[in-house]
């Protein structure tokens, strides 16, 4: 053993120096009811709403309902050890979680404790989980883009840093994949990402974490998971805890991306504990303040003014719909709170258009200001192209009977849909997105068969990487489209080398 007894005793003395011998005066109450993650206690006359309370067995609770005779407490942890007649102590503190740089790269629970088996997190900072959102004068309008690396989103529903963009869709339509791909694309962007998994299966979260690890994204990501086996109060506080951790970085002038996956489950958890606390149920049995639950959470996403360091927190809340019904209670609430939504269509998903972003119903209310100029130039007509394509799609089967203008529109539309397809976990840098969209909107793809577009794209990127890196760099550095003649020249040069596949040649001959 290398540790000496003297060293240990010196250490103990040092720690004991902090001990003050004083009378402890504590306000207490008596537990009268325990069950379903909720306790009621008599006494505690001066308890504050949201105050942390300590039970006899060391478990903490949060005062939620202050009533004339008793206090309703949600138990944050194991409530099996609490008995009727136990005492509950006031702590005088509001619920806090640890925050700090040491959290990055870790997987934690809703209380900020590590659950990844990598040992303790050494951070002395804590932040209250409930905090008022920055006010009007503390903010500035959203101006910098947050590149998701997904063509369909960066071109049609651009997201800015500090924005709140909802990802909404049925189960199994790729909502989480969009969020994870966005996190993957923040590599080397000086962003901190926080992925808050609320009620997600532990196995799913495990595979999400391995994906992030595989692509090196855990270096700048915190994963906060409140699994389905945790009591409802922890699911309820998880997003607030995540937001508190994000705010720490935002206030230091950093850029933060936070994903709440998903708020439907948080609403369910809150409904559960509200009903057990005997609050009156409202629509769909949600309590009266369910709107405020989400609005105060999402309001904490902000782009801070330059005076406060100019940091930002971008929120990507996820909401699950049932059979595409966006008029249910939680979806309408969250749609009205956020600055736009990405709607994922299950029909599109199953027909192979992935990501299944529905261009017609997806919007971004502030993102347009945050798009780089080059992207605006090439993506301006995209939405219109898609809309007219979907309108005419029904006539597509008439084929050659249609007039040329209609045929051209159908052609362009089919290619647009094809270009916007993107495989999983392969985010594209913005300059390459601009490049392929440039080829699309300038008609270079009209001659290419639909089956060849994916190959065309990858070969085009390889060609530009090899011979025209300067043009790509120019887009990155200036944000503007390079000289059109130069672009055209480069694309022409590529077309000389591009070989259409054989099956398509045959097809063309038959036509």
């Amino acid at each position: 053993m290398s540790i000496k007894a003297e060293e240990i005793s010196a250490l103990i003395k040092q720690q004991l120096a902090g001990y003050k011998d004083e009378l402890s005066v504590e306000e207490t109450g008596t537990v009268t009811y325990v069950g379903d993650g909720v306790a009621r206690a008599h006494g505690l006359d001066n308890a504050l709403s949201g105050e942390l309370l300590e039970f006899d067995n060391g478990v903490f609770g949060m005062a939620q309902n202050l009533e004339s005779n008793d206090v309703g407490i949600v138990v944050l942890g194991d409530f099996d050890g609490i008995r009727e007649g136990d005492t509950v102590k006031r702590t005088g503190k509001i619920m806090e979680v640890p925050v700090g740089d040491a959290m990055v790269g870790r997987t934690i629970n809703a209380l900020g404790q590590p659950i990844d088996g990598k040992g303790d997190i050494s951070t002395s900072n804590t932040q209250p989980i409930e905090k008022k959102a920055p006010g009007i004068m503390d903010r500035q309008s959203v101006s910098e883009p947050l590149q998701t690396g997904i063509k369909a989103i960066d071109s049609l529903v651009p997201i800015g840093r500090g924005q709140r963009e909802l990802i909404i869709g049925d189960r199994k339509t790729g909502k989480t994949s969009i969020a994870v791909d966005t996190i993957l694309n923040q590599k080397d962007q000086d962003m901190i990402c926080i992925y808050v998994a609320i009620g997600q299966k532990d196995s799913t979260v495990r595979s999400q974490v391995s994906t992030l690890e595989k692509y090196g994204a855990m270096d700048y990501t915190i994963v906060l998971s409140a699994g389905p086996a945790e009591p409802a109060p922890l699911l309820y506080i998880a997003p607030y805890a995540g937001a508190a951790m994000g705010e720490y970085f935002m206030n230091k002038g950093k850029h933060v991306l936070i994903v709440y996956d998903d708020l439907t489950k948080q609403a369910n958890a809150y409904r559960e504990l509200s009903l057990i606390l005997r609050r009156p149920p409202g629509r769909e049995a949600y309590p009266g303040d369910i709107f405020y639950t989400h609005s105060r959470l999402l309001e904490r996403a902000a782009k801070l003014s330059d005076k406060l360091g100019g940091g930002s927190m971008t929120a990507l809340p996820i909401v699950e719909t049932q059979a595409g019904d966006v008029s249910a209670y939680i979806p309408t609430n969250v749609i009205s709170i956020t600055d736009g939504q990405i709607f994922l269509n299950s029909d599109m998903f199953y027909s192979g258009t992935r990501p299944a972003v529905d261009a017609g119903t997806s919007v971004s209310r502030v993102g347009g200001d945050a798009q780089i100029k080059a992207m605006k130039q090439v993506a301006g007509t995209l939405r219109l192209d898609l809309a007219s394509y979907h309108e005419l799609e029904a006539f597509a089967q008439f084929g050659s009977d249609l007039d040329e203008a209609t045929q051209a529109k159908l052609n362009r539309g089919a290619r647009t849909v094809e270009v916007l397809k993107q495989p999983l976990h392969s985010p594209l840098p913005v300059e390459k997105q601009v490049l392929i969209l440039y080829c699309l909107t300038h008609g270079y793809l009209d001659k290419v068969s639909i089956d060849d577009i994916a190959r065309y794209q990858s070969e085009l990127f390889a060609f530009f990487d090899g011979s025209h890196r300067d043009l790509l760099d120019q887009i990155v550095n200036t944000g503007k489209l390079p000289d059109i003649d130069k672009m055209d020249e480069a694309v022409h040069a590529f077309e000389q080398t591009f070989q259409p596949s054989k099956s398509t040649e045959k097809e063309q001959k038959n036509n």
Partner: protein, 180 residues
């Protein structure tokens, strides 16, 4: 039906106010304590009186001597009302809340004192004077208990507040300090 505590709070407050208006607070309080004692001694009494399957006439018979012996007309009426409403089970809670109101009026504080060794009268006097000053009361009534598990020092429990100066708590605080 109102829950027991809300019910008891309302009735005790009403009783307190009428007794105070008539200047019968002290005698009323003593009487209530006696009635409570009767109910405490006969554990089944309140249960039987609140039982709906027990015939009404028998209930009246049972309660009659109690009512007859009560001096205050208000307390007589209270007993009649409680029996009529089938809420005799709330009587003890009513007395408890009445006591709280009475204590507040007269600045009396009840406290449970836990010590490791029995306290001498001198110690008790000192403690009651200091404690009365601390909680701003005229009179302190102690209910002393001996519990060796606190090792040393004193624990005073009074209306939802614990003043804990026990050695046991201090040791556990030191333990927490060292482990963190």
């Amino acid at each position: 039906m109102l829950d027991k505590i809300t019910f008891a709070k309302r009735y005790s407050k009403a009783l307190f106010e009428v007794l105070k208006a008539d200047g019968q607070l002290d005698s009323g309080y003593a009487e209530l304590k006696q009635i409570e004692q009767i109910f405490n001694d006969n554990a089944n009494l309140s249960q039987v009186l609140a039982d709906v399957s027990f015939p009404e006439s028998k209930k009246q018979e049972l309660i009659k001597p109690l009512i007859d012996n009560a001096d205050s007309k208000y307390i007589k009426n209270l007993l009649k009302v409680l029996v009529g409403a089938g809420r005799v089970d709330a009587l003890q809670a009513i007395v408890e809340h009445f006591e709280a109101l009475y204590d507040e009026e007269n600045k009396i504080v009840h406290a449970n004192v836990i010590s490791a060794v029995p306290l001498t009268d001198d110690q008790k006097n000192n403690l009651s004077q200091t404690f009365a000053k601390r909680v701003n009361a005229d009179r302190v009534i102690f209910n002393c208990k001996v519990d060796q598990s606190i090792i040393g020092g004193l624990v005073v429990k009074s209306s939802n507040v614990i003043f804990d100066g026990s050695v046991k708590t201090k040791i556990s605080n030191i333990k927490k300090l060292l482990l963190n």
